[in-house]
């Protein structure tokens, strides 16, 4: 359905170039939930913005790659054609519900706007659809909420409104960029459940971006692990969690606190995420990797196939097999 191929996006500064995305590829098939996992700053959000074509272009620049929606390259489309795609075929829910809604328009204004821009319908019908959407996302007394302004709602409710807006035109793909990071843990669980229900009832493809592996275990069909602008490992959920084949993924999994680790020291991956404008040569993870060998410093690793869609970018672990 949606396929990102070898996408490169650089941010041009006056003294340096930040290589936010350096040839990342992932795809989301019809009806499945794909999780894009990685630490802050690895390029996940940039790739999502690039799919919708809303990367700020003066510092940002697409340096290569394709974004295919049902075979059509979205990067080739001009602004007007992209406006037909946004909201209608691909919709996005952002990370910060507190600031993502316009403070001077009512909830009804903003949701109905999302409908009206893509479909023609009478005022009454639009209003009914708004109420239904609010009900779908689990907001109580939707008729009364319509007249409210964003600042009158809580964070969780605002995020639900964002989701309702995204669902307004029944998109084929929904991209959710860390939608629960800014919310309380209890609200997180509710929103997650909401996503699961919606995905089942609407048969939508869901690209869920997060850094929280606990969430991933719950909802993902397939997982892509991103580091420093490239995909370092991908596979089914079970493969990744039980049989990960990249040192970074292993490090992430080992860092998860669990009952079995009680009383011991928490594991952490030593070192820091590389500066996008100053990446190391060869494998970008090698400075922090306990398995690194000499060739890791020089040669950029290829993807190594473990079968059943499980691939990883580490030659060392592949050879250890």
């Amino acid at each position: 359905m949606l396929s990102v191929q070898d996408l490169k996006i650089y941010f041009i500064g006056d003294r340096s170039v930040a290589r936010a995305l350096d040839g990342a590829s992932y795809e989301v098939r019809t009806g499945e939930t794909v999780c894009l996992v990685g630490e802050s700053g690895c390029g996940k959000t940039v790739s999502a913005l690039a799919i919708l074509g809303i990367v700020p272009q003066p510092p940002g620049k697409v340096m290569g790659g394709k974004v295919l929606l049902d075979g059509q390259n979205l990067l080739d489309l001009d602004e007007e054609e992209m406006q037909q795609v946004r909201g209608k075929r691909i919709a996005m829910v952002f990370q910060e519900p507190m600031t993502s809604l316009n403070p001077v328009f009512t909830i009804e204004d903003q949701i109905s706007e999302a409908i009206m821009v893509h479909e023609k319908a009478g005022a009454n019908e639009i209003r009914k659809r708004c109420i239904q959407l609010l009900r779908d996302v689990g907001i109580p007394s939707p008729e009364e909420r319509l007249k409210d302004y964003p600042h009158q709602l809580s964070g969780g409710q605002r995020q639900r409104v964002m989701i309702a807006m995204a669902l307004a035109c029944n998109p084929d793909v929904m991209i959710a960029d860390e939608p629960t990071t800014a919310l309380d843990v209890t609200v997180q669980a509710q929103i997650l459940r909401l996503f699961q229900e919606l995905q089942q009832t609407k048969r939508m493809s869901l690209l869920y971006i997060t850094h929280d592996l606990g969430v991933v275990a719950n909802i993902a069909d397939r997982i892509y692990v991103m580091y420093a602008g490239i995909i370092v490992e991908q596979g089914d959920t079970s493969h990744i969690f039980q049989d990960s084949r990249h040192p970074y993924t292993q490090g992430l999994l080992a860092s998860l606190p669990s009952r079995t680790k009680r009383g011991g020291a928490l594991h952490s991956i030593p070192g820091l995420v590389p500066d996008p404008s100053d990446k190391p040569l060869g494998c970008p993870f090698h400075p922090r990797c306990s398995f690194a060998v000499k060739s890791c410093k020089i040669k950029f690793p290829e993807m190594y196939d473990y079968g059943e869609g499980h691939v990883s970018r580490c030659p060392v672990l592949y050879n250890k097999k």
Binding site: D14, P59, P270
Partner: protein
């Protein structure tokens, strides 16, 4: 990447832990951003140029036998155009202009305009800086007090003491010596009494004393109402009034402009302090026992300086314009001292015959004011983290 030994190294991999120092210091970052903003850089360069000319002008035109004489009247040579040669037969040897030609022509009294411009440069500079200095000082103090101590109430006895001290000082200045000193003494005595009373921890049931301790409005309200009152007077009108009523002198003008332009700075500083006050570093400092004044001046004001600097730079530009305007109307620095506004004002009667008398000072003022404005706006872009491009 630089490695410093203040960061611990991880046992196994020898890599650094913890945050890295920024790649450039803040001063370096400031210069880099300034260089990038070419207009602001131009503004700064012009300002430095202007400053050196003003300094040179001060040196070259002061004293009994100045190198360039702005006050020498040569009626035979009036209204000569720029770059013209003097009529050597008509003037004595000591009346010849220094460089052999009238660089910028002469005015209606035959004075060399170039010398007058040199002399005026220093005046414009001084007026700008001193006036803005006064305004910024008042603004920081009032804004700081209002922002930090804003919630403290003003008590009835505070008001009484303030009135007594004011009237006492006024009487003292006005010449009524005895009464003035007497009132001041009463005021001081009361303040000391208050201090002792608080230390002793006295609570009193006497209604009179309770009346004195009653709280009225807050410090913030007081200062903000003061700002409102000042804002009610149309500024130029007020300056004009004061300048017209007081004897004319350069210092009066500077002080008056300063005393009427502090309102903006006060508002900025107050706003910044109000938001900074809630931040954790202030609470932490208080918990460590740092005194209030130290918190304000050492920790909060430096953070609030950005809008103050911007408005100060732009304020200098506007002070220069105001001085020029006052001179134009006849209320500027008194003759024979030259200011750019004076030269322009003298020339307004001859605009068709001797346009250089208008254009030369006009352009000079334009360029200097433009330089300050550009630099000020550039400062605003540089110091504003929100407007900086980040990726």
């Amino acid at each position: 990447m630089k490695k410093t030994d203040t960061h611990t190294l991880h046992k196994e991999t020898g890599l650094e832990e913890g945050p890295l120092p920024p790649k450039e210091s803040r001063t370096q970052e400031f210069w880099r951003l300034l260089r990038k903003n070419r207009l602001a850089l131009a503004g700064l360069i012009i300002f430095v140029f202007f400053f050196s000319i003003a300094l040179a002008g001060l040196v070259l035109t002061s004293g009994n036998k100045p190198v360039f004489d702005p006050a020498m009247v040569r009626l035979q040579e009036k209204l000569r155009p720029p770059l013209s040669h003097p009529h050597l037969e008509a003037i004595s040897s000591e009346e010849t202009p220094t460089l052999g030609i009238y660089l910028c022509g002469t005015d209606d009294l035959g004075r060399d305009v170039f010398s007058r411009m040199l002399q005026g440069a220093w005046v414009s500079l001084t007026v700008g800086f001193v006036a803005v200095g006064i305004a910024v000082l008042i603004g920081i103090v009032l804004g700081g007090i209002s922002g930090y101590f804003g919630r403290n109430p003003v008590r009835v006895d505070h008001i009484l003491v303030a009135c007594i001290v004011f009237v006492g000082a006024g009487l003292l200045i006005g010449g009524v010596f005895l009464a003035g000193v007497g009132l001041l003494c009463i005021g001081c005595a009361y303040v000391l009494f208050q201090r002792w009373w608080k230390k002793v921890g006295g609570q009193s049931a006497t209604p009179l004393i309770r009346l004195f301790s009653a709280e009225t409005f807050s410090v913030d309200t007081l200062i903000m109402r003061l700002v409102d009152i000042m804002l009610c007077f149309p500024v130029f009108f007020l300056i004009l009034t004061v300048v017209a009523l007081l004897p004319a002198s350069m210092y009066n003008i500077m002080i008056v402009i300063g005393l009427t332009s502090w309102m903006g700075t006060t508002r900025f500083v107050r706003a910044e302090l109000l938001s900074l006050r809630e931040q954790d570093f202030v609470t932490a400092a208080k918990a460590l026992g740092v005194s209030d004044w130290r918190i304000i001046f050492r920790h909060m004001i430096p953070n609030a300086m950005a809008p103050v600097l911007v408005s100060a730079t732009i304020g200098i530009a506007s002070a220069i314009l105001i001085e020029a305007g006052l001179s134009f109307l006849g209320f500027g620095v008194p003759p024979p001292h030259a200011t750019w506004g004076n030269v322009l004002s003298d020339g307004k009667r001859f605009i068709f015959d001797a346009p250089w008398l208008t254009f030369i000072p006009g352009f000079a003022i334009l360029i200097v004011v433009l330089a300050f404005n550009l630099f000020g706006e550039g400062l605003r872009d540089i110091l504003n983290p929100k407007l900086r491009e980040r990726y």
